[in-house]
């Protein structure tokens, strides 16, 4: 699996769900962390950001600090976590040099696209 890592956010996104990465300009685009954690995350207006266009439509804004990692194997969630239907958009967990990160599929969070397998 190839992942886009948002290092400061502790999040990673499968490359397969992203169609393009653009300079963030549209204030109406939802902030990924807000979709994941609810409207509780800090987001300053001058924070550099990018807009991820997603497979199947939809878009999310993310912090601009990002990099790709190749050939990573996600850690499968145990059943107690995986089978919880409230875990919308959570694909798994991955161990990266910078630490454990959640793998999420933003297309599920914005209600577009097919879940990543």
């Amino acid at each position: 699996m190839r992942l886009l890592v948002l290092a400061g956010a502790g999040l990673a996104i499968p490359d397969a769900v992203i169609t393009s990465i653009e300079l963030g300009a549209d204030q109406a685009t939802p902030w990924l962390a807000d979709l994941l954690y609810g409207q509780t995350t800090a987001r300053t207006t001058d924070q550099p950001r990018r807009t991820l266009r997603l497979q199947g439509g939809g878009a999310v804004d993310v912090p601009a600090t990002m990099h790709f990692v190749e050939h990573v194997t996600p850690l499968a969630l145990s059943d107690l976590l995986r089978l919880d239907p409230r875990l919308v958009g959570i694909v798994g967990v991955v161990e990266l040099p910078e630490g454990l990160s959640l793998i999420c599929d933003p297309s599920e969070l914005v209600g577009h696209g097919e879940p990543v397998q």
Binding site: Y37, G38, L75, L80, L83, R86, L87, V93, L100
Partner: protein, 147 residues
């Protein structure tokens, strides 16, 4: 196996313990229940982190580090890790020694099922304490059924 979290003690079935780990990094997962707030990496899997602190009215676990000890436990066909401060000496207890929950009923009422409670002298020269014996199979079953 008695374990300590803050000033509280609880016991888990020693035969369910797969491994005792030191502090580990863990990751919070949004929208999970308070007692299962996230996951840590163990043997190539992401296993649920069981944090009893909210039920004990203690400060909830903060990412990214667990408490000082983590007991990896088999629960039915799954595995969870309970994060605690200390692991105490394993004791042998007869079935008769486990009494119905009475003094520790408050823990059950906060959503943590217990098999019963034990009177134990937890540490040398300390008074005997009554500690709840967790029923993690019942907890997991409850966790699954309330989805």
């Amino acid at each position: 196996m008695p374990v300590a979290l803050g000033a509280h003690h609880v016991a888990v079935e020693a035969l369910a313990v797969l491994e005792i780990l030191g502090p580990r990094e863990w990751v919070r997962i949004p929208n999970t229940r308070p007692l299962l707030p996230g996951a840590l990496a163990w043997r190539g899997r992401a296993i649920g982190v069981l944090d009893l602190a909210p039920a004990l009215r203690l400060p909830a676990l903060e990412a990214p580090n667990t408490r000082g000890r983590n007991a990896v436990l088999r629960v039915d066909d799954d595995v969870v890790v309970i994060t605690i401060d200390r692991v105490l000496e394993v004791r042998r207890a007869s079935v008769d020694a486990i009494k119905p929950v009475h003094a520790t009923r408050w823990l059950v009422e906060r959503g943590v099922p217990c098999r019963g409670e034990l009177e134990l002298e937890l540490e040398r020269d300390l008074d005997t304490d009554v500690i709840p014996v967790l029923d993690l199979e019942a907890w997991a079953s409850m966790h699954r059924s309330v989805r």
